[in-house]
């Protein structure tokens, strides 16, 4: 053998991370940075120094996300293009929402959210069909619908962002401030986390279960919108006018999305654990080990973000109310949720608990989380009043 060691080693030299990036990755980074600079140059009057920092941070985060998870790039581009289209149809006249064809049926925030809702529900049906039939094609359709729904949901939020400024220049705010908006956010984030795992583990068997909880959120959203007119844009009370909100709320909803996902995987686990081994159902349902693993990963991800969000919430409270922790019901429920998942993680990691009990626990966790997001409603609705009333 006449191969030298040097030659042999060269073939296996793992290139540094930077070298693994393709030219498309660099175009991606350039595009995102250009977008960030554009925002910075054109909207400086709307941002304070913290918000500029958030903009810079989001730019970097989006670049990294696109590098690490390639489909995020196509999604972002689609969202940007459709959103810009919607925003350009508006010009400066909010009244066009009813008159312009495209706005009315496609890209006003209200219509985009309707599209999102419809697509998520259809995707749920499709995932079930995929689960029951095992048809690959149906599975692909289900995925495509979920991607489209997520795109439309993001477009809805983006266009709504612009709409808030059209309502009044002083009204404008990032649409993550009331229950209607955060439910959209919740659906989108849960779907994104799910889509990530779908790609990562190359299975669509979990989709039916996860989309079920998204459909439930959509159901609530529609009721809230039609029955309560929740989609109407209301200006922010002073307490919510803070850059903290811009990071606290999304971080929180990454947490909620992940916890909801793990609960639904818990449901899938319980069903799969009961299916007769070797039966068609057992073959179609996701693999138990996989479920267990994804359940853990998603709780871990959720826990990390929830920790961050709770801390951000405390920092915000310190700045708005004068105390980082007041044991008010909202904060306390966040603590309960957090402690619950901390205990869950300990059980799994140090006691090695697996399987059915952990699945049940993840499902029960969802209820504590529901209480928590229920409390959040007070956060949004009352915080204005609290400020008025506490004068008493």
């Amino acid at each position: 053998m006449s191969v030298t060691q040097q030659q042999m080693m060269q073939g296996f030299e793992k290139p540094s991370f930077w070298k693994t990036l393709s030219w498309f990755d660099w175009i991606w980074a350039a595009l995102v940075i250009a977008g960030g600079i554009y925002a910075y140059r054109n909207l400086p009057h709307l941002m304070d120094v913290y918000e500029i920092a958030i903009l810079a941070g989001s730019t970097l985060a989006l670049i990294t996300l696109g590098w690490r998870w390639k489909p995020a790039r196509a999604l972002s581009l689609a969202v940007v293009i459709i959103s810009l289209f919607g925003i350009s149809r508006y010009g400066t006249d909010l009244g066009l929402a009813e008159q312009d064809f495209f706005l009315r049926f496609l890209v006003s925030s209200q219509s985009a959210v309707m599209w999102m809702s419809a697509l998520y529900v259809m995707a749920t049906v499709a995932y079930f069909a995929h689960l029951l039939s095992g048809s690959d094609f149906v599975g692909k359709v289900a995925s495509a619908m979920t991607w489209s729904a997520t795109t439309m949901g993001l477009v809805g939020l983006m266009v709504r962002w612009r709409e808030t400024y059209l309502v009044g220049a002083d009204v404008g705010y990032i649409p993550v401030s009331n229950l209607y908006e955060v439910f959209i956010l919740f659906s989108i984030i849960t779907a994104l986390v799910y889509l990530y795992y779908e790609g990562r583990y190359r299975t669509r068997a979990m989709g039916a279960f996860v989309l079920l909880v998204i459909s439930a959120a959509v159901g609530f959203l529609l009721w809230y919108s039609f029955d309560r007119g929740a989609h109407e844009i209301q200006p922010l009370v002073p307490a919510l006018q803070s850059y903290w909100m811009k990071i606290h709320v999304p971080a929180n909803f990454v947490g909620y999305g992940c916890f909801a996902l793990s609960a639904m995987l818990g449901v899938a686990y319980l069903i799969a654990a009961r299916a007769r081994p070797g039966s068609t159902l057992a073959r179609r349902l996701p693999d138990l080990d996989l479920l267990d693993d994804v359940m853990y990963k998603s709780i871990a991800l959720g826990f990390a973000f929830f920790t961050l969000a709770t801390i951000l919430g405390a920092l915000w409270a310190a700045e708005a109310w004068g105390g980082y922790w007041s044991w008010d019901p909202k904060e306390t429920w966040a603590l309960i949720v957090w402690l619950n998942y901390a205990a869950w993680l300990h059980m799994r990691l140090t006691k090695g608990w697996r399987g059915v009990p952990m699945a049940w626990w993840a499902i029960i966790g969802l209820f504590s989380q529901d209480m928590d997001s229920g409390m959040r409603r007070n956060d949004v609705d009352l915080s204005g009043n609290v400020i008025l009333i506490s004068a008493g």
Binding site: V237, G322, P329, L339, L388, A391
Partner: protein
């Protein structure tokens, strides 16, 4: 996590058993869940309400049980703090026992792994490579390094172990996370109100429950100016100042003096076009004896002032005792003699009235009242400012009170201008509004005159006589007393109407007429009433010099109907006068929250550690590889094993990839070593 020390010791000491218990996972989880359950109680049961509310809710027996358990203030209850303290101790012990091992494992490569323990790994592979060791080892090392592993080798005589490891910072995550819990709890304890509770239970301080000026609060309810940590609030009116804060505690308060004085120069509130508040700002002046000159600072919601460790927040706003000029028009008397009142919000005014002495408690003044209006034009929703309003309570001798909300200017309703005044008996219900039509000069005058006229019995009787004269001439010849009866009836009807409105008449009909004739009687009564009131109204118009001979204008006709509606509801309205706001001087007050929290930075440090720790723990993956290399007769026996701490599943995939890479590097096609 088992402690290696535990298994080697023969007879564990008592201290050791205690440590074992405190650091045990079961205890930790029990404590975590106990805090969670206690917190659930604390959110389900509203905390720190006046005890009276709890007695009503639970009854005396359970009230006492719950009180003994301190459920009304869970978060400063002894048992809750005990659990928290226990959790801190348990976590500390856990760190004490595990951290050294964890920290060691960051640098420890485990180059002593024995053959059997390596063979026990789930991820392992053995080969016999037809090459000398000197050719194999560089390949192993290169592969490990290119995948981010650090490598350490050890010669064991007949064989060598190359141990590799990456992501060992993960173990630091454990230390950070758990140390953070301890740090946060300690910081929180510093800022919590435990010292306050202790002082209270030892009788050093006493909660004040009376609503009295701070200067009259006895010394037991004052805290020291040096008090390191507190959170209180104070309301300061424009142009005034304060050097103290009130700490709310259950149904009372304590007074916290400040080492400086806060003056409110100006308070501003901005509104959105929808009338919702957009921002509140206070211009403060801080007077500190230690400063040469006072300094100014503006605070707003989310933008506090931090001075000498005291944080001053914009929390709320209130009226600051606006001066009000009120004209009280009697509603129940026959002469229209207004009474002018000069007072201010938060003041009481004594009033004598036909209903006995009343106290008018002025409670609030609002400069703007922006409300949405459904408009017909295409723009859809619009908002309108109803202008200034003030609220007051009217309390009678028995202590019962009604609350009123009166608007200063008339408001447009369906094309007519109305003075509106809301009334309610409890704060829980919405206001019901009295609408009084405004006359052509946008004043109350015509309505008030009309109302007074109806209450002038002589005039009413006179008019009744006039109206009956013509129609009764025939009849009265036969029965003169009949006409008198009709007149009396008319006067009585008007009287009923002015006192109780249409309802009172209906009631009378229900009482006196047989059921089948009630509607008929009622119609007749109303017709009579309408006639006589109409006559009175015409007289009023004539008095104003209005010529209605061609027929009454629509405006005047509407006015008549609106007036009757208003008069009819005066019975429910309840106030014997209408309080018209004629002038004001707006004064605002700013509600400040003042806090001192020296533990805050400790808590923040803990939070930073916690975040860092959690991300290290979850996202830095700790993996180890071993290569056991043994040369024999020019061949190399290679054992490759690995483990991924807390990410076995993903590591198994990585291991498979590494294994095939190794096979390629070493040119092994498929020749696993025979098992010895």
């Amino acid at each position: 996590m088992s402690s290696p020390a535990a298994s080697t010791r023969a007879a564990p000491s008592r201290a050791h058993i205690l440590l074992e218990f405190l650091g045990s996972m079961n205890l930790a989880i029990t404590l975590l869940m106990a805090v969670a359950v206690a917190s659930v109680i604390g959110t389900v049961l509203k905390q720190n309400e006046p005890y009276q509310n709890y007695i009503i809710k639970f009854g005396p027996f359970w009230f006492e049980v719950f009180e003994k358990l301190a459920l009304y203030d869970v978060y400063s209850a002894g048992w809750f703090l005990f659990i928290l303290g226990f959790l801190v101790v348990s976590t500390s012990v856990c760190i004490y026992r595990n951290a050294p091992t964890m920290l060691r494992s960051i640098t420890h490569f485990r180059t002593h792994a024995g053959l059997n323990s390596l063979r026990a790994f789930h991820n392992r592979q053995e080969w016999v490579v037809p090459r000398p060791e000197a050719e194999v080892t560089p390949q192993l090392a290169a592969m490990a390094r290119t995948h981010g592993y650090r490598l350490r080798s050890q010669d064991h005589g007949d064989h060598r172990i190359h141990a590799a490891m990456k992501g060992s910072w993960n173990r630091l995550g454990y230390v950070f996370t758990h140390a953070a819990i301890v740090i946060i709890c300690i910081g929180g304890l510093v800022d919590g109100n435990v010292p306050l509770k202790l002082k209270e239970s030892s009788g050093q301080i006493q909660v004040e429950t009376r609503d009295i000026p701070a200067s009259q609060v006895p010394a037991e309810s004052w805290l020291s100016v040096k008090n390191p940590s507190f959170r209180g609030s104070v309301t300061i009116a424009e142009g005034t100042s304060a050097n103290l804060a009130f700490l709310q505690l259950r149904d009372g308060y304590l007074v916290q003096p400040l080492p400086f004085r806060i003056e409110l120069k100006d308070f501003r509130i901005e509104h959105y076009f929808t009338g919702q508040p957009k921002s509140f700002e206070s211009d403060l002046v801080i007077h500190d004896p230690e400063l040469e000159e006072p300094f100014e600072s503006t605070i707003a919601v989310n933008h506090p002032l931090i001075y000498k460790g005291y944080a001053i927040y914009q929390a709320s706003f209130n009226d600051g005792g606006s001066k009000l000029n009120i004209r009280a028009w009697p509603l129940l008397a026959r002469e229209l003699q207004p009474h002018d009142i000069e007072s201010a919000v938060f003041q009481d005014v004594k009033v004598t009235s036909p209903r006995g002495p009343l106290t008018m408690e002025l409670t609030d003044f609002k400069l703007y009242n922006v409300n949405p209006v459904e408009d017909d034009d295409a723009s859809g929703k619009q908002f309108r400012n109803y202008g200034p309003s003030f609220t007051y309570k009217l309390r009678d001798e028995t202590g019962a009170a009604r609350e009123y909300e009166n608007y200063m200017s008339p408001v447009e309703f369906e094309g007519r201008s109305m003075f509106i005044s809301g009334v309610r008996t409890t704060p829980a219900e919405p206001f019901r509004y009295l609408h009084i039509p405004a006359d052509g000069k946008y004043s109350l005058e015509r309505f008030l005159k009309f109302n007074a006229l109806l209450r002038d019995q002589e005039r009413v009787r006179q008019l009744a006589e006039e109206t009956t004269r013509g129609s009764f001439d025939q009849l009265t010849l036969e029965r003169p007393e009949l006409r008198q009866e009709v007149i009396e009836n008319m006067v009585h009807l008007v009287g009923l109407f002015t006192q109780g409105g249409v309802d009172a008449i209906l009631e009378q009909v229900n009482r006196s007429a047989p059921e089948e004739r009630r509607t008929q009687v009622m119609d007749a009564y109303l017709k009579v009433l309408q006639t006589i009131l109409g006559e009175l109204y015409l007289e009023l118009l004539a008095g104003e010099g209005i010529d209605f001979s061609p027929g009454m204008s629509e405006t005047d006709a509407r006015f008549f109907d609106d007036s009757l509606n208003a008069i009819s509801s005066l019975g429910h309205y309840g106030a014997p006068f209408f309080a018209q706001l004629t002038g004001f001087e707006h004064l605002q007050a700013s509600g400040l929250q003042i806090a001192r929290a020296p533990g805050k930075n400790v808590v923040y440090l803990g939070c930073a550690l916690l975040t860092l720790g959690v991300f290290l723990m979850f996202y830095v993956r700790h993996s180890r590889l071993w290569f056991r290399v043994e040369e024999k007769d020019g061949h190399t026996r290679l054992l490759f094993a690995g483990t991924g701490h807390r990410h076995e599943r993903d590591f198994a995939e990585e291991f498979t990839r590494l294994r095939s890479e190794l096979e390629q590097r070493l040119g092994i096609v498929d020749r696993p070593a025979p098992r010895p």
